[in-house]
Symmetry: C2
Subunit: 305 residues, 2 copies
């Protein structure tokens, strides 16, 4: 199975027996509460609010909304709020995290805490992003444009594993992963092409599994079979990639932004690699992106996933 549209992602969440519990860390913020309660109104999640309770109640009252008292945790100080939200996940009371009005660093610090956090031994954390692109025949996941700056070979492996794990949870059997470069030939003067070759080899040897990895591959061969055929680039992933691994954060970031600004794409994303998804949308994210990111995180944390 592969996803061809975000509406299928939404159907996964709505088809789930029970709404996922989303712990919102530092929730005393109108933008954050609007996104969380809009998702609740659609039956997508059950928000659990962690933060300055008095402020939260005051904002909710202004919005004309209520949240059961048991689902509001008073933690006025932001470090404590993040720790409480993390603890809720550890205790099984919440299924995933959403960042409220707090620096990404602060919430991630609580997440990576060795004793009380949500770290997964051996895993790295990376930004998994999915795009619905009008010009492409299915959902496309370019990674990583927001978290790992200059991934080493080992980190690229981690980025692939995180992304593939998310896709598996969404129902994919064997995602096709292209490791991007400017060309298809490994070239000792371009380390990215050697990394790509090494990752493909790790996949063939079974070190990276549950997916097909190939590369180096140029962007056009990765998404257009006719171009790959013309160039004589043969691979099961040619023209049909689900995942595109960017050489570094700059390329990944440019790709994501081009998709939205120039290709009419819609985006959803979260931080993967911890024991649950962490939704990190910012105040600048559109309401639609926040909504789709919550849906994606909810879909990836379904019990049946």
């Amino acid at each position: 199975m592969v996803l061809t549209s975000f509406s299928q992602l939404e159907a996964l969440v709505k088809g789930s027996a029970e709404a996922r519990a989303m712990a919102v860390a530092v929730a005393a913020d109108p933008h954050t509460l609007e996104a969380a309660l809009a998702a609740r109104a659609e039956g997508l999640v059950r928000p659990i609010l962690v933060g300055d309770k008095a402020k939260i109640l005051s904002i909710l009252s202004e919005m004309g909304e209520t949240v059961p008292d048991a689902d509001i945790y008073d933690a006025p100080e932001e470090v404590a709020a993040c720790e409480t939200a993390v603890a809720l996940v550890r205790e099984g009371k919440a299924d995933f995290l959403m960042k409220g009005k707090v620096d990404t660093k602060v919430i991630l610090k609580a997440v990576v805490n060795k004793e009380h956090g949500l770290g997964v031994p051996g895993a790295i954390m990376s930004h998994v992003t999915l795009f619905e692109v009008p010009a492409y025949h299915k959902i496309l996941a370019p990674v990583d444009g927001g978290m790992v700056t200059y991934p080493t070979l080992e980190q690229k492996k981690g980025i692939i594993e995180n992304t593939v794990a998310v896709l598996h949870k969404l129902g994919y059997d064997c995602p096709k992963v292209g490791v991007l470069a400017c060309a298809e030939k490994p070239n000792p003067k371009m380390p990215e092409t050697l990394d790509a070759q090494a990752l493909a080899e790790m996949n063939r040897s079974g070190e990276i599994s549950g997916c097909i990895v190939d590369g180096p591959i140029s962007f056009d061969c990765a998404i257009d079979k006719s171009i790959a055929d013309f160039k004589g680039y043969e691979s099961p992933i040619a023209g049909d990639c689900d995942v595109l691994v960017a050489p570094n954060i700059h390329a990944g970031n440019i790709m994501g932004k081009m998709l939205v600004c120039f290709s009419g794409a819609k985006m959803a994303g979260f931080i993967a690699g911890a024991r649950c998804p962490i939704v990190l949308t910012s105040r600048g994210s559109s309401a639609e992106e926040k909504r789709m990111s919550i849906i994606l995180a909810a879909a990836a944390s379904r019990p049946e996933a």
Copy 2:
């Protein structure tokens, strides 16, 4: 003046008193001759064919075309053909070069030859590409996705100078140049952001002139003023960039390919930094891309430019 469409570029060429002379190096190739003669048929250029004359005549005859004998130079061997084409430019008999069926390396070797070539002291050669992007309000030039692999600060300066010089020849007064990164803040852990800052400073101090350079800037701030405003990024180039400097060849290459494959963009490009444009389209380039690249090179080598 800024260009908003490729049709304006075409008008520049058609408005020129005389068709530019295009020396085609290693012209004995049907694809190359088709592109050259299609451009001639539109009155865009006067092709001068350099290569295996017997083969050229045979292909022309199959195409039902003729070229004045004085405009065919017999040079069956490809190194000699490239050197002859370069010599034609040096002698003022040709205005720019087009690569035929020959490796890029071979023609560039003739171009950079210190004694008989077309090098410009102190300049680097870089790929200047222009895109007509449906979702953008004017022509956009992301550079360099095809020539300089990992540009140093000095090479990025050269890339900017080459691109700005081409835009000046097309009638631009003061192109707006954004140096891309994943964010707007200089960060010592991300050398690209420091290079961007240094290039902006070189521009303010007058070391890079005839344009406005700013950065580091993220892609969305570079092409969408409302996003820049929202992020509080203030710059005369915000949302209005003509030129986008990619961190390296991989990012630049991905950008160009995304524009064409996912954003419905049309492309034109040539190698700049030598004494004349060098059109390097490959057999894989679409007929439209070849045509627009010839038009761009002709426009940039007008005597009035």
